[in-house]
Point group: C2
Chain length 550, copies 2
Amino acid sequence: MANKVQVLYDFTAEPGNNELSVKEGESVTVTNQNIGGGWIEVQNTRGEVGLVPEDYIEHTSNGGGDPWSAWNTDATGGSSNNWASKPEGTQTGKNAAPDPWGSVAQGHPQAYQGPAAEYDEWDDEWDDVKSSGGYPEVESGEGGALQRGGAQGTTMKISLNKFPGFSKSGPELYLLAKQLVKGKEKLSIYMGEVGPVWSYPETQLDCVVADPKKGSKMYGLKSYIEYQVTPNTTNRPVNHRYKHFDWLYERLLDKLGSAIPIPSLPDKQVTGRFEEEFIKMRMERLQGWMTRMCRHPVVSSSEVFQLFLTYKDEKDWKMGKRKAEKDETVGVMIFSTIEPEAPDLDPIEVEQKCEQFSRFTKAMDDGVKEILTVGQEHWKRCTGPLPKEYQRIGKAFQNLSSVFTSSGYQGESTLTDAMTAAGKTYEEIAEMVAEQPRKDLHFLMETNNEYKGLLGCFPDTIAVHKAGIEKVKEGDKLVATSKITPQEKVTMAKRVSTMSYTLQAEMNHFHSNRIYDYNRVMQLYLEEQAKFYETIAEKLRQAHSQFTTM
Amino acid sequence: MANKVQVLYDFTAEPGNNELSVKEGESVTVTNQNIGGGWIEVQNTRGEVGLVPEDYIEHTSNGGGDPWSAWNTDATGGSSNNWASKPEGTQTGKNAAPDPWGSVAQGHPQAYQGPAAEYDEWDDEWDDVKSSGGYPEVESGEGGALQRGGAQGTTMKISLNKFPGFSKSGPELYLLAKQLVKGKEKLSIYMGEVGPVWSYPETQLDCVVADPKKGSKMYGLKSYIEYQVTPNTTNRPVNHRYKHFDWLYERLLDKLGSAIPIPSLPDKQVTGRFEEEFIKMRMERLQGWMTRMCRHPVVSSSEVFQLFLTYKDEKDWKMGKRKAEKDETVGVMIFSTIEPEAPDLDPIEVEQKCEQFSRFTKAMDDGVKEILTVGQEHWKRCTGPLPKEYQRIGKAFQNLSSVFTSSGYQGESTLTDAMTAAGKTYEEIAEMVAEQPRKDLHFLMETNNEYKGLLGCFPDTIAVHKAGIEKVKEGDKLVATSKITPQEKVTMAKRVSTMSYTLQAEMNHFHSNRIYDYNRVMQLYLEEQAKFYETIAEKLRQAHSQFTTM
C-alpha cells in the first residue's frame, strides 16, 4: 500500500546505507512499510527511493506505536503489578545533550538514526552489533523500534517452566515437597540489628567493566562488542559480550528470582550512528548492574556468578555454562537451600511483613517515577529552551555593544568591551547550562532508573510470597479434603516462615543499599549543582569587574 | 448581543466591586460587552451577574485587539518612523513577579484586575485615581484596556499648531524668519573634546520624587495621588500630581521638542487592585523621567522646569503656568535662541552628521528592542515554568524522603532528613528564581524601556533637521523662482548649521548619558545575578552537607 505522507523533520542520509535525505514538509510516498527497525522506505518527488526513520514522517497505519508512550508504559505488557522500567533510547539533535531515558526533547521524536539493529540470538552465536546495512525484520505487530528496545522485558521473568505441571500457585512445589534435597548449597540468614539479614562476606566483591572492543565473526559479516570485566578478587580480566551478561541474567533469574529481585540488564537497543555513545552508555549501565550484583551476598557468592567473573579459559567457561544450565535448584526450590537461624514466624506476622514491603516498594516506585518524570522535563529544559535563552541574552548584549561601537563617540571602548564580555559570558553560561545535566542530573536519573528497574522486580517476588501465604491459609481446608496431611500443613507454615525470612533479609539488603545509593547520588548531585552555580557566579563577577563607574 | 463563552482562567471577585467569581472552563453568558476598562459583564449558570476581566474569557467579537500585540506595535499608530515605547500593564498571578513591560506570563493574559481607570483631564481638574466602582466608558473600536494604557501616545508630539499655516516643511519658519527676536533666552553650544556640547551647569540639578499621598476633591468623589518632588538646589519639597508632570511634559515638548528629544512620561494606566504597586511603579518611572530631565542642561535650566521644581506657593505656580503657556519661543523657533561658538558648518557635513545620527539611533533602537524582547521572555520563564520546575524537583525529593520514612528500617533518619532539606532547598530556589527578575532584570528592562522611549523621539527631531537640510538644498531653485532672496539663502545655510550644532550637542549629551546609564545598569544586573547564583550555591552546599558518606 503506497500512500503520500508528509516529512516531519529534516533527515540527512548517511552515505552507503540506502538512506534518503528528506526535508521537513516534503511530501513522499511510502514504498515499503515493512522495513522494520524503525525504518521505512519512501520515494521522493524526484523518484529517488531510500530509507528514512519512520518517526520522521507522518504516522502511518503500520507505524507501530507512539515512541513517546514507552516512557510511562510497560513495554512488556505484563500484569498491572509489574511496573516495568522504561526502555532506553538515544536522542538526536545537535546541541542537545543526550537524554538517555528515552525522553523526547522539544517535540523531536526519538529516531533511530542508524540502520543497524541488534540481535542477541544465542542460538546462532551472532550478537551485539550487526554490520551496518542490514535491516532486520521486525515481527509484524510487535510495534515500533522502541518497543523492540524494550521487548526484552524489563520485569523479572521467573522461569518456572522447567517443572512440568507447575501450577499458578507457584510456591507449592517448595511448600509441599516431600523431602527437601539437602545439597551443598546453603544460604544462611541471621538475625542482625535491623532484623533478618543475609550472611555478608568479609570482603565485598566488586568488579570493573571496561575497555569495550569491537570484534567480528563470519569473515567480518558480524561484529560484536566485547567488554573486559575485572573482579577485585582475582584482578584478572575476563571478556564478555552482551549476550553473556544476558545469559548470566537468565541463570540468576532462574535460580534466585523467586527469592531475590534480579534487575533486568540494560535494555537491548537499536544502535547505529551514535554507536560510540551507545556503547559507552551500555557499559556504564552494565557496570551499574554488575556492581549491584556484586554487592548482593547471595548473588555474588553463587557459582554461576563466580564462573562469570573468574573462568580460567574457554573450556572452563563452556563446562561451567553447561553445568549452570543443568542446575535443578531453581525457581521456588531456592527456598529449600535457605536456613534462617531464628525461630519460625507466625503466619500472621509473615503476612503483615509482606503487606508492608508491598506497600513500601509500590510507594517508592511512585516516588522514583516522579523524580524520573520531573528530571526528564528538567533535562529537556536545560538542554533546550534555557540555554537558547541565555544565548539570546548574550547575543542581545553583544549586538547592543556593537551598535555602541558605531557611535563615533569618544571613550566608548570600555563600555563596549565590557558589554561584549558580558554577552560572551551569557553565551558561556548557555553552554554550561546545556552541559550540566550530563554532569549531575544524569547520575540522579541513572540511579533512579536503576531503582525503577529493581522495584519492577518486587511485584513478582512478592507475588510468589503471597501465593505461599495463601496456600498456608488454605491449610485446614486442604487437610479436611485430604489434599494434604496435617504434617504437611505444619511443614508448609514452617516453610512460609523461611520464605518470609528470605523476603525480610532481602528487604533489609535493599534498604541498606538504598540508603547508601541515595546518599551517594544526592551528594554527587548537590555537589555538582553547587559547583555549577559557583562557576556561573564567578563568571558573572568577572564580567561585572569590566564595567566602570564613572 | 448575549452569547455563551468559556472562562479561560479562574477569577476571584473582589467584594463590593460588582465582580463575579468564575472558574476555568465554566460557561457564562455575556450580558454587557461595553463595560470598558478591560471588563465585561457576564451571567453564570446560577443566574448571578457580575464583572470579569475580559481577557479571562474567550475572545468575543467586541473584545478589542490582542493585548499581547501591544508590546511590539506602536499603540499610537504613528508613522513607521516613530518607533514608540510600549504601553505598560500590570501582571496578575499569585506567585508571579509582575512583569511591568506588558508581557504575558505563561499564557496568562494581562487582565486589569481593578475596576478603576484613570483619567487625566486637565480641564475639569479631576485626575489621577477615580474613586473605585466607576467603570469608565471605552470608546468603541479603541481596543482593549492595554491600548487605553498606551493611548496617551509615546512618541514625541511636536506641537507646532500654534503657528497657523505652518507647513509640513516645518523648519522654514525659523530658516526664513526675517528677523530673529533676540530675547534674554540664550542657549550656548561650545566645542568640547567630543565635539559640540551644551553648556553644562557646575552643579548638576537633581530631584527626588517620593512620598505619594492620596488626596481627594469634590467631597471625596474624586481622588488623586500627589507626589513630593524635592530638588537638590532648594531642598524644599513641592507637590505635584501626575497631570502636573504631564503639563510640564507638554510645555517642554512645545518649547524644546524640535531640538531636543523630550521622552514621554510614563504611560497613563488603568489601575485598580494593585493600586499600591502601580503607584510605586509610576513613581519610580516619574523619578526616572525627572532625573533624565534634570541631567539635561537645557531642560533643567529652562524657566518652566525651574518653576515646576521651585515654585513658592500656589500663586507663584499659577502665574508661572500662565506665563509658560503664553511663551512664543516654541517649536522650531527654539533654534533662534541657540548660539554655537564655532564656525558655520558646510551643508554637506551637516547632512552627513544627520545621516549618521539617524543610523545610530535606529540601530540602537533595534538593539534595545532586542534586549526588551529577550528580557521579557526571560522574565516569563523565570517567573513561570522555571520556578514551577524547581518546585516540582523539590517536591519529588520530599516525596521520596517521606516514602523512605515509611520503610520501617533503622538508621533511615539521616538520609530522610537530608533529602527533605534538599527538597526544601529546591523549593527555596524556586522562590528565589521567581523573585530574582524584580531584583535585576527589572532595572535592565526599565533602563532599556526608558531608552526605547527616548530613541522613539529621535525620528521627529531628526525629521525637523532633515526638512531644514532639504530646504537649504532647494536654495538655488527658490532664489531662481524668486521665492527667496540670495541673502535669505545664505541665512538659511547659516541657520541649518546652527541646527546641526544643536543636534550634535544633543547627540553628545545622549552618548555621554548612555555610557553612564549602561555602565550602571549592567553593573547592577551582573552584581545581582552573581549574588543570586552565589546564594543558590551556598544553599546547595548546605543541603549537601546534610548527607553522609557511609
